[in-house]
Symmetry: C2
Subunit: 199 residues, 2 copies
């Protein structure tokens, strides 16, 4: 089948877009409001964009507290969501009022970051400490939310020693989870290797 | 452990960044040069950024033919990489001279797109037809490559009927593959569901 996104008429039960671009890594973003309130929310429109400098980006569907906090304070942390933390991560996806501490609400402890003020999730095996770079706002239709991409430079990286084996990261030990559209997730349980061909 | 990215000294065997932000979906990008040559290359710094409008982004580590073609011609296609296409996808990651048709080289057939000129990979179950929106270039250090993020609006979507079941996309039937750093990939073989909590 084929359809155009101008009317998005596809006859399927939901917009399939989020299932087509998948599995998506989850940036579980900690930020602080100007008043110092902690915010924690998961974003699966998230990825690395560059290794030189180390840059990550996440897409916000409408203006959320994370975007406002990051633009206000210039800093955030991307915690890694794993199988063990799946329920807590999901809990922080609830739409709550600004000022509610999602970390406390999900029963998570905070641990201090080194290079930025927002704390990391203490139980996460990986946290990327980020400095805000810029926002790219997308064309907005009247009555629709203002969607945007928020870029950050990763300035500090925390890795729990338990996921390092022989100087390499063991992603199956972390069992990173990823978003697949609908209400679906996957976890990295098995990997396979392919060597990039040399010409 | 903790390290800062300004010197990137971590004592690990490789920069672990690409294993930490994972699994990454693969945008297997078709583009045309100004002269009409087909280019096909995989990008795992790739994700959806917005559903309204439908926006995707990919990060280019140094200026590659895809970025140049897209900026020159304004169009590209993101094909989905699946388990069945893994070897062909890997073959197209080889660094070849501009003008070499990676699609032919990997033994892949092209199929025409509907809304844009670059063709899709005929064997892919999903192809996102995109119009170029803008490029965000990151701060470049002297002697380092110019890394950048390339945004496109998805204007047309092809989905092979074989991956649709009861009006929904079956991602485990597509067996989408994703990048995990090092030489590692994963495929979506199993999923689990979590319902977003209502407050």
């Amino acid at each position: 089948m084929f359809y155009t996104t101008d009317n998005n008429v596809h006859g399927l039960r939901h917009d399939p877009f989020k299932t087509l671009v998948a599995p998506r890594p989850i940036g579980w973003v900690t930020s602080l409001s100007k008043g110092g309130d902690i915010n924690l929310a998961p974003y699966s429109f998230f990825n690395a964009m560059s290794t030189d400098p180390h840059v990550v980006v996440f897409g916000s569907q409408g203006r959320k507290d994370s975007q406002t906090n990051i633009e206000d304070t210039g800093e955030f942390v991307c915690n890694l969501a794993t199988w063990d933390l799946r329920d807590a991560m999901n809990e922080t996806s609830a739409m709550v009022e600004p000022g509610v501490n999602e970390m406390e609400r999900a029963g998570l402890d905070a641990a201090p970051s080194r290079m930025v003020k927002p704390p990391r999730v203490a139980a996460t095996p990986v946290a990327l400490e980020c400095r805000y770079m810029q926002t790219v706002s997308f064309p907005q239709k009247p009555g629709h939310p203002q969607c945007a991409a928020v870029f950050g430079e990763v300035v500090g990286i925390f890795i729990d020693d338990s996921v390092i084996e022989d100087g390499m990261i063991d992603i199956t030990r972390m069992r990173t989870i990823a978003r697949c559209g609908y209400q679906d997730y996957t976890s990295v349980d098995t990997i396979f290797s392919m060597i990039r061909p040399q010409v």
